[in-house]
Symmetry: C2
Subunit: 353 residues, 2 copies
Amino acid sequence: MTRTIRLAVIGGDGIGPEVVAEALKVLRAAVGDEAAIETSEFALGAARYLATGDVLPDDELAAIAAHDAILLGAVGGTPGDPRLKDANIERGLLLKLRFSLDHYVNLRPTVLFPGVESPLKDPGAVDFVVVREGTEGPYVGNGGAIRVGTPAEVANEVSVNTAFGVERVVRYAFAKAAERRSRLTLVHKTNVLTFAGSLWKRTVDAVAAEFPGVAVDYLHVDAATIFLVTDPARFDVVVTDNLFGDILTDLAGAISGGIGLAASGNINPSGAFPSMFEPVHGSAPDIAGTGKADPTAAILSTALLLDHLGLPEAAGRITAAVTADLASRGAAARTTTEIGDAVRAALPALEPR
Amino acid sequence: MTRTIRLAVIGGDGIGPEVVAEALKVLRAAVGDEAAIETSEFALGAARYLATGDVLPDDELAAIAAHDAILLGAVGGTPGDPRLKDANIERGLLLKLRFSLDHYVNLRPTVLFPGVESPLKDPGAVDFVVVREGTEGPYVGNGGAIRVGTPAEVANEVSVNTAFGVERVVRYAFAKAAERRSRLTLVHKTNVLTFAGSLWKRTVDAVAAEFPGVAVDYLHVDAATIFLVTDPARFDVVVTDNLFGDILTDLAGAISGGIGLAASGNINPSGAFPSMFEPVHGSAPDIAGTGKADPTAAILSTALLLDHLGLPEAAGRITAAVTADLASRGAAARTTTEIGDAVRAALPALEPR
Ligand SMILES: CC(C)[C@H](C(=O)O)[C@@H](O)C(=O)O
Ligand SMILES: CC(C)[C@H](C(=O)O)[C@@H](O)C(=O)O
């Protein structure tokens, strides 16, 4: 019997639905008859908020949670739109999904594919993955302010870090490193954020004992940005907190050919909740509808999705097709649909079952 | 009558004293008889801690505070030295100085000098300055932990931001922009750190009204790292919080030829306390004593020092000498002293007074 994969699809705003359409096209073709893909669409994002005032109603969150995985395009309206002033779509929708569905691993691979230009003169062989913690740190929303709008205003933000939360993501990162080139770099700012830093450092030291084959090093976040532009090939697996991971992965995307190629997975490794896959880029309302959006990051995100769901061969076909497409890209601009079609056409043939 | 400048000199550890010696040599030559330079040395840093157990005794802090300015090399011992495990030299010395002396402006210019190689293929004309807040944010040391070492450990870090603290540094940044190319970029993460972000954003909007000639834009910190590698020439003045400023300025140093060229000033614009000038790089114990350290960042820091003390002509002579030296640098390696001598020799002639 064919396995059925139930996907919740959140196209979102701007270019989100456009890149998701191409990603689904490639995903279906890559899976072939290995599985049946059933999709349910959820109209969430800035457009929905403007239409109905809803950001993420509880019943929709529950419906999304009943799926096997989530594919998300991008959410967010036009920056500065006054009608969005009181809605924080990022916190209320994107972060709400990550936190509610306990996506404690935010997995962000960085590969400089053959044929792709880096802004760096000499990037070397860039192939690393950032394991960004997804449910703690300065992202918890534990802030507050007093005397707002007066000269005596104080605004605080609390970064919350727990042994529970740090250990599980560190363990995941070590396991990932053991499958790869066996090198793990902890990035933090232990000399300044001494309490959180100490917890991260002690946790990495403790888990390292269980992975004697993995070489471990440590970089302050500021130094890590230097290495990302002077020697990115030094990295294999980077494990870091939510905020540092956010910063490092945009930079990583930039040095490996642009955020238009950067895929990500928000993963709950336990399977208690569905994991969510999304391009790292945003909704880019300025180019929405022009066909200029590159769907490659969304397509690569579906490879992460298939890997997570235990379909590594289909995932490999997608990565192979994207690699071939990137290597043969000419200078001529292609539309979103043309890129999706080209990647689909580049999929290796399915073995007859 | 000749003006006397009393400098507190903290050479520090590793390459710190080596680069400071060259910086003082160039500083004295550049000032000529415009001012008499009196120095007092303070033996502080990891070496001092290992010898005496002191990090920054109150009487030494008071003595330092009685000077006109401070020149600091770099502090910090060998990473992982077990004898330093319980001393946090960075917090106890460097940050203690910045906080005690109310260095609320951490000024970090980034210039890609002619003849200097960037790791970027096409950096363009890089010439911007980061105005990093120096006395608030996640650097305040307002953290804590419970159940340390148990599976139930919680470690928090609080970022504290005040209208008082944000407004004064934002005002400084606008004034700086008005003297330069009249473009100011606020960098923060307002969509996630909503309380602190809102304070920064409202403050920039309010102060902008006083500087109608300055064009203002905003970038999330993650997006800012992308622009630093794809279009660094877009920046003029960047204003940001303590932690984001730390991260962005290491990256800025890297794309403009390396942290060995990056100067900084920890400035108290009111003059209530002496300001402190230091290279952005660390103590690099691995190359200490080898003559491999580049003193250029320390030398450029003395130009910031002279500017701050109202000696812009002498400051300009130093910048001109460094510019000439960098433009004529061959491929041959030079020692720390050779670079210092070459920069001194390149100083424009003093006008007879
Ligand atoms: C939109 C924003 C909240 C989000 C984040 O900061 O995590 C984004 O930058 C990302 O990296 O996925
Ligand atoms: C040494 C460290 C505390 C310091 C900082 O984080 O400010 C350094 O990185 C810097 O940028 O001057």
